[in-house]
């Protein structure tokens, strides 16, 4: 299963042993989140538990006018974010009433989903970090070492999901750690522990993928034909996500990119173009001195 086609496998594509590839000798199984949004009830217990456990500062209290979502987005101090999507129940797409999703009053369908850092197999934030502050843990997750981060902010635009962010007033970048301090002690992450419906499931990634596949089959057979998994495929643009989702609509409806690709996939080519440009600069400047004296 471990496919390591040289440099290509290191930057892009399926990678069997994520922690092993990062240099851990005998790593534990890769840990992951499976967020089954079809059973999310939008209680935000995950958001609260995350804030409490990780001592995250308050980052804005306001009414956003977007259903029950007054959090807005994942960020430096929001590592779980529950999204609320209101859709007309009379969808133009032929569909029976949702098995998941909530049929609300007034012909609305309500989708709720708890978003989180994807802990990518090929994590752009980690790849571009110039200090080594972002590292792969033995569980295959990605964390920021806050005593190393110098706040360069490179990880922020590198993330294809818009997850990691610099904290205002602090200057360093922060994101979900998958509760590195808890899982190391045999506990579940705070969000998964608090989730009352098992919408957030934590465990070995392989196991979660199997569980997700059977849940998907079940939902499809119940007529929820638009149900799909997001981020579970090791051959996707980030080599598969450590935190993947079961969605009831297209990813962009949830504010997720439909086909994210780790930017570092193209890095060798970028250096190639830059080298060609550098040689051109050198040739142009030197060539400019070979003409007539004046």
């Amino acid at each position: 299963m471990a496919e390591r086609a040289g440099l290509a496998g290191r930057l892009y594509g399926p990678l069997g042993e994520v922690a092993g590839d990062a240099g851990y000798a005998q790593p534990p199984p890769r840990a992951g989140f499976f967020t089954d949004t079809s059973v999310c009830i939008g209680c935000k217990a995950c958001e609260v538990a995350c804030k409490e456990w990780n001592l995250l500062p308050e980052d804005g209290i306001s009414l956003l006018g977007s259903s029950y979502d007054n959090t807005g987005a994942l960020g430096a101090s929001t590592w779980r974010h529950v999204k609320f999507i209101e859709q007309p129940a009379a969808s133009p797409r032929p569909r029976g009433e949702a098995a998941g999703g909530q049929a609300g009053d007034g012909g609305l369908r309500w989708l709720m989903a708890s978003d989180v850092c994807k802990h990518c197999t090929h994590a752009a934030c980690l790849d571009v970090c110039p200090t080594g502050a972002l590292i792969r843990t033995e569980y295959g997750t990605v964390i920021v070492q806050d005593d190393v981060c110098n706040g360069c902010g490179y990880c922020v635009p590198a993330c294809p999901y818009g997850v990691i962010e610099k904290r205002a007033g602090d200057g360093r970048a922060f994101k979900c750690t998958m509760c590195y301090d808890r899982i190391g002690a045999g506990l579940m992450p705070a969000c998964a522990t608090a989730c009352p419906t098992e919408s957030i499931q934590y465990g070995p990634l392989d196991e979660l993928r199997e569980r997700a596949a059977s849940r998907l089959t079940q939902l499809r057979s119940q007529g929820e034909t638009a149900a799909r998994l997001y981020g579970e495929r090791p051959d996707d643009g980030v080599g598969g996500a450590g935190a993947f989702f079961l969605l009831l609509d297209r990813p962009e409806v949830y504010g997720l990119p439909p086909d994210p690709v780790v930017t570092t996939r193209d890095l060798p080519r970028m250096w190639g173009y830059a080298a060609a440009a550098a040689v051109t600069v050198l040739a142009c400047v030197l060539g400019s001195f070979t003409g007539r004296r004046r």
Partner: protein, 320 residues
């Protein structure tokens, strides 16, 4: 898997979750980072110019190039450090050597290039250790082209559509722009008797910058929009006009002190404005989720079409 064929599921005009961005916009500050990009390029190209001037017996042109190179790299470094959330931790970037991080590679490039450029300038101005100073200048010139182009990789190696998708052309745009700015300073500051090569560099650099940005914006399709709209659009036009004016001045007015100075100023300004324009276009492309979602959707559509062509019976799995 066949998105274009399906009915839109959201109210018209919303492409994302409440129209919110998918990406985080760069946390980098203006003018710090655009200046960092510009000054690094100016410095790198000036080092090459200085070394070539030195080797071809143009000492005053060489001095202008060396001083510009040293001042440029200092300014670039200062802008970079000022932009850090924790400036005191700048040296943390030198605790690892990380080829997957263009900023790591850039920091090492600056760390090796900076002292060489500084030594070359110090030796030239003080007259001390001239042989070592000239050798340092050659060393700086060897790294100069990398200084002029790595910043393009730095911003392209992100998820920002207007930067990432422009990765083939950006190094040429930045490299050309770097040449134009270095030649601009030389035209303005060096004696006319020695600036003939600088005028030629100005033409080559400005031409390369204009050609690369033109090819880039024509190729990018939807993602070219941020380069044409709003503040970035105005800045792109200004950069183009300044660079073209500087090009004309360098070609026609090289024998006039005043025309040379004006052309040089235009070239330097055009080069600086280009970095601000590209920076702004990137920020705009992150802010509007269309630039993230639409190209990805199209890519999925093309992939699905290819799969449908190779496989006889596509399963109706709504994927993606």
């Amino acid at each position: 898997m066949s998105p274009p064929a399906r009915a839109p599921e959201q109210p018209a005009g919303t492409v994302s979750y409440y129209g919110r961005p998918v990406l985080k916009e760069p946390a980098w500050k203006t003018p710090d980072v655009p200046l960092y990009l510009f000054l690094g390029g100016l410095s790198g190209a000036s080092s090459v110019l200085a070394a070539a001037a030195d080797l071809t017996g143009r000492p005053r042109l060489a001095r202008v190039g060396r001083v510009t190179a040293a001042a440029g790299v200092l300014g670039s470094l200062a802008a970079l450090i000022h932009d850090l959330g924790r400036p005191a931790r700048f040296l943390n970037m030198l605790r690892v050597f990380k080829p997957t991080s263009p900023l790591s590679m850039g920091s090492w490039t600056i760390a090796s290039y900076g002292p060489l450029a500084g030594a070359a300038a110090a030796s030239d101005l003080s007259g001390a250790l001239t042989a070592a100073g000239r050798a340092a200048g050659i060393g700086a010139a060897a790294l100069g082209p990398a200084m002029a182009t790595y910043t393009a990789v730095l911003i392209a190696d992100t998820a920002i559509p207007a930067w990432h998708d422009a990765h083939p052309e950006l190094p040429f745009a930045f490299g050309g722009s770097a040449m134009a700015s270095a030649a601009g300073v030389a035209l303005a500051a060096a004696p006319l008797a020695e600036t003939a090569p600088a005028a030629r560099i100005a033409l080559a650099g400005a031409g390369m910058e204009i050609a690369a940005t033109e090819i880039m914006t024509r190729r990018l399709g939807l993602v070219a929009e941020p380069y044409a709209r709003g503040r970035a659009g105005k800045l792109m036009l200004a950069a183009r006009a300044l660079t073209a004016a500087g090009m004309a001045g360098a070609a026609l007015g090289r024998r006039s002190r005043i025309a040379s100075a004006a052309a040089g100023a235009c070239l330097v300004a055009g080069s600086a404005v280009l970095r601000f324009a590209v920076f702004d276009a990137g920020v705009q492309s992150a802010r509007d989720p269309r630039y993230t979602i639409v190209p990805q959707r199209e890519r999925l559509g093309r992939r699905a079409a290819r799969a449908a062509n190779t496989m006889p019976a596509p399963p109706p799995a709504p994927e993606g």
